[in-house]
């Protein structure tokens, strides 16, 4: 069966790093067509989802993806002039899955994306946000908790076309045991995007000698009048923090758990629905926080 190239880095780099693209076999399958409305939707099958926030409208949607029988989740979002859309996607699955998210953000429109990846044997996730309108905005807050043999390949591209458009990408997570993650984040300032601003940041906490974390934060710029920045930090828990917490009577195991929770909770706290929040904490095995 033929493979499909996914998560293509907009400008390829050194081949030996293995980050330029990923190959996946995608079988022909039957898809559920789902029109997302405000509220929560469980996705358990292959689905093509659409979300439209019409002029001036405010929509907040939650997708809870349990991919027991799913291969591909394909979501299209259109945020029209002056509209605001918030999409929360929770990937709580052990099966391989491909998620595609395409977003078009019009003038004065704003799109907020919140994503949480809880494990995942082989997750490929591609996000393309097109900031086509003037003063359009895109904020994404993404977290992952990967352990055992979890594998995540995440490719986020923010294309700035509109004047004074703004993007802010925040990614963070915790990796342990044999977890393997690739994060590629691209801010692409097109020549029409004067006055645009874009920032991206990734902060990864690594726990375990066999983790592998690859990060490629890219800025492409063909417009002079822009401001772009990216930062990335990766590493172990700071010794000073461990010392302080030990002096307060915490065991090493508990310290790891608390610091991991701190990284992920930032995103979980953005989930407005209490039931879903409870479900997430259950899935993470962190019921004590909720209680």
């Amino acid at each position: 069966m033929k493979t499909t190239k996914l998560n293509i880095l907009p400008i390829p780099t050194f081949s030996h790093l293995g980050v330029n693209f990923t190959d996946r076999r995608i079988e022909n399958a039957i898809y559920d067509n789902i029109t997302l409305q405000s509220g929560s939707t469980d996705i358990t099958k292959n689905a093509q989802c659409t979300l439209t926030a019409e002029n001036g409208e405010h929509k907040s949607v939650l997708q809870y993806v349990r991919a027991d029988n799913a291969v591909l989740i394909d979501t299209s979002v259109k945020v029209e002039n002056g509209a605001v859309a918030v999409l929360v996607q929770i990937f709580d699955t052990t099966e391989p899955i491909v998620s595609k998210l395409n977003v078009d953000i019009a003038e004065n429109a704003h799109f907020e994306l919140v994503q949480l990846y809880i494990g995942g044997r082989d997750t490929v996730s591609e996000i393309k946000a097109e900031l086509s309108g003037r003063h359009s905005g895109f904020v994404s807050d993404i977290a992952y908790k990967l352990d055992n043999n979890d594998k995540l390949d995440l490719n986020l591209i923010a294309d700035h076309f509109g004047k004074n458009s703004m993007s802010k990408i925040t990614v963070g997570g915790v990796m342990s045991e044999n977890a393997d993650k690739i994060f590629k984040g691209t801010i692409n300032f097109k020549c029409s995007a004067s006055g645009a601003k874009g920032t991206e940041n990734e902060d990864v906490l690594l726990i375990g000698e066999k983790v592998r974390s690859r990060t490629v934060p890219v800025i492409l710029c063909s417009e002079e009048d822009v401001e772009g920045s990216h930062g990335a930090t990766a590493g172990r828990i700071d010794n000073a923090k461990i010392f302080y917490m030990r002096s307060r009577g915490f065991s090493d195991e508990r310290i790891m758990q608390i610091l991991a929770q701190a990284k992920i909770s930032r995103v979980i706290e953005k989930i407005n629905d209490p039931q879903t929040k409870h479900r997430v904490y259950d899935s993470l095995g962190w019921c004590d926080i909720y209680e």
């Binding site: 880095l9 400008i11 390829p12 780099t13 050194f14 081949s15 790093l17 980050v19 330029n20 990796m175 020549c191 690594l206 726990i207 375990g208 000698e209 066999k210 983790v211 592998r212 974390s213 690859r214 990060t215 490629v216 934060p217 890219v218 800025i219 492409l220 710029c221 063909s222 417009e223 002079e224 009048d225 822009v226 401001e227 772009g228 920045s229 990216h230 930062g231 990335a232 930090t233 990766a234 590493g235 172990r236």
Partner: protein
């Protein structure tokens, strides 16, 4: 009428002069087994080198072009002459160098620099070294600085060359490494014995005068334990309309607790494809420092690589790239942390102007055995107009949790706030802009020896003419 500030392109008049080609043997263009045999014959290669060249040609023919980086469609290797021997043979006395060659290097300031501030100089003209000299007191300390081909034929160094040549950059590394292995010619060999610290720098200067030609020099430097060296490399060529190719190779072996600084000012003309490979292997406690200024060439692929192979080894890369009209400069650095307690720091600046494209590309790999290692990458890009382009593509690959890695990048134009602040202090807008751009490039110029910092200032030519529109 108040007119606009103009930041000039690099002043190339210093480098664009040319003389009649001073060549005796100009082999046919392209790359065939027969041409490789002719080069071997010309150089009286030992058996192993004859076989190695032919092996490299086979690897070259099998390998694909790189699938990333700036486009190199305008380069047709079948049109490139890979070997040109100048009439003059290698000299150790400057007076014996032919007049036109001598004048070339005198206009570039090389003999003056040798007299004033260098421990030794090598000068390559097209495919061959035409001059090599080292101060007698430096030679007495056991330092060897000679052309690579003489060293290969000298029984004292032949085995060292054989055991190190293209071991760090194998021909299978990429297509142009294989090409280099097949047609390499010229370059320097430096050996610094244990506990010898060379206070003043050595310098090699590479000049490509012939049109439609390639330069494929090989630089091999070996530093023994606890030694130190500053090596300076300069490159230039006059402008022709035919494409030229530079596919040199630099292999640096830095021993235990040794320290090597490798400074390069690259100013090839805008018809050149600069596809150079540089790599350093650093042992326990050793340090490699790269200082790199990329100003010339039509297309550049240049990513000096440091392999930190011993505990406590460290690498530092400081670079600046200035891409003007018609230039696509793809530069950066690669670091591999392959031992505990290693550290690396990459700090680069790039400026794009008049439609120039500058790309910063890096990779930092922290292997599983590199526990307690640290790395920091910092890159800043400045766009000086709307028709230029600037990209940053850094990559970090971490395979252990016991490390600390940070990365930071910024891209933008000269900020209005900074200009406002400086003008409020009495500077004109033009002066303020000039000061900001000079300050942007300052971190590299202050790392260079004085005479090279001056050359870099000439190169950048940050001329702000307050009344020029």
């Amino acid at each position: 009428m108040s007119e606009k500030t103009q930041i000039a392109d690099i002043d190339r008049s210093l480098y664009d002069f040319r003389f009649e080609e001073d060549e005796q043997d100009r082999l046919s263009s392209g790359i065939t087994p027969e041409i490789i045999s002719e080069i071997s014959h010309e150089k009286n290669d030992p058996d192993w080198m004859r076989k190695f060249r032919q092996h490299c040609l086979k690897v070259y023919n099998k390998m694909e072009m790189v699938k990333w980086g700036a486009p190199i469609d305008g380069l047709d290797i079948n049109n490139i002459v890979t070997y040109i021997r100048p009439k003059s043979r290698m000299n150790t006395d400057w007076e014996n160098v032919p007049e036109s060659v001598k004048e070339t290097f005198e206009r570039l300031g090389i003999p003056k620099a040798e007299r004033e501030s260098l421990a030794g100089v090598g000068a390559q003209y097209d495919s061959e070294l035409v001059y090599h000299n080292v101060r007698s007191e430096v030679a007495r300390s056991g330092v060897v600085y000679t052309d690579l081909e003489s060293a290969m034929h000298d029984e004292r160094y032949a085995e060292i060359i054989k055991s190190h040549f293209m071991k760090l950059v194998p021909p299978t590394d990429h297509k142009f490494a294989a090409l280099h292995g097949a047609v390499w010619s010229g370059g320097s060999f430096v050996y610094v014995p244990k506990n010898v610290n060379l206070e003043i720098p050595l310098q090699s200067y590479f000049r490509l005068n012939a049109k439609g030609a390639g330069q494929f020099e090989h630089t091999l430097i070996i530093l023994e334990e606890n030694s130190s060296l500053h090596f300076i490399e300069g490159c230039s060529a006059p402008k022709y309309y035919e494409a030229g190719l530079h596919a040199g190779c630099v292999e640096l072996f830095v021993g235990k607790c040794a320290k090597l600084r490798y400074s390069t000012i690259e100013n090839w003309s805008k018809n050149m494809y600069n596809l150079n490979t540089k790599r350093a292997l650093v042992e326990d406690g050793g340090k490699i420092e790269w200082v790199s200024g990329s100003f010339g060439s039509h297309v550049s692929y240049l990513y000096p690589m440091s392999i930190l192979n011993g505990a406590g080894a460290s690498a530092e890369f400081t670079g600046i790239t200035f891409a003007g009209e018609g230039q696509n400069l793809d530069t950066g650095a690669k670091i591999v942390h392959n031992a505990p307690n290693t550290s690396s720091y990459i700090n680069t600046k790039s400026i794009s102007k008049s439609g120039g494209i500058s790309t910063f590309r890096s990779s930092v790999i922290i292997n599983q055995n590199a526990v307690d290692s640290k790395s920091s990458v910092n890159c800043e890009s400045l766009m000086l107009d709307k028709i230029s382009r600037s990209d940053t593509i850094p990559a970090i690959d971490i395979k252990t949790d016991k490390c600390d890695v940070g990365h930071e990048a910024k891209i933008g134009r000269i900020s209005d706030e900074a200009i406002f602040y400086l003008t409020s202090r009495g500077l004109s807008e033009e002066e303020a802009k000039a000061m900001i751009v000079r300050g942007f490039a300052d971190n590299v110029s202050k790392e260079l020896p004085l005479e090279y910092a001056v050359e870099m200032n000439n190169l950048i030519s940050l001329e702000i003419n307050s009344n020029v529109g």
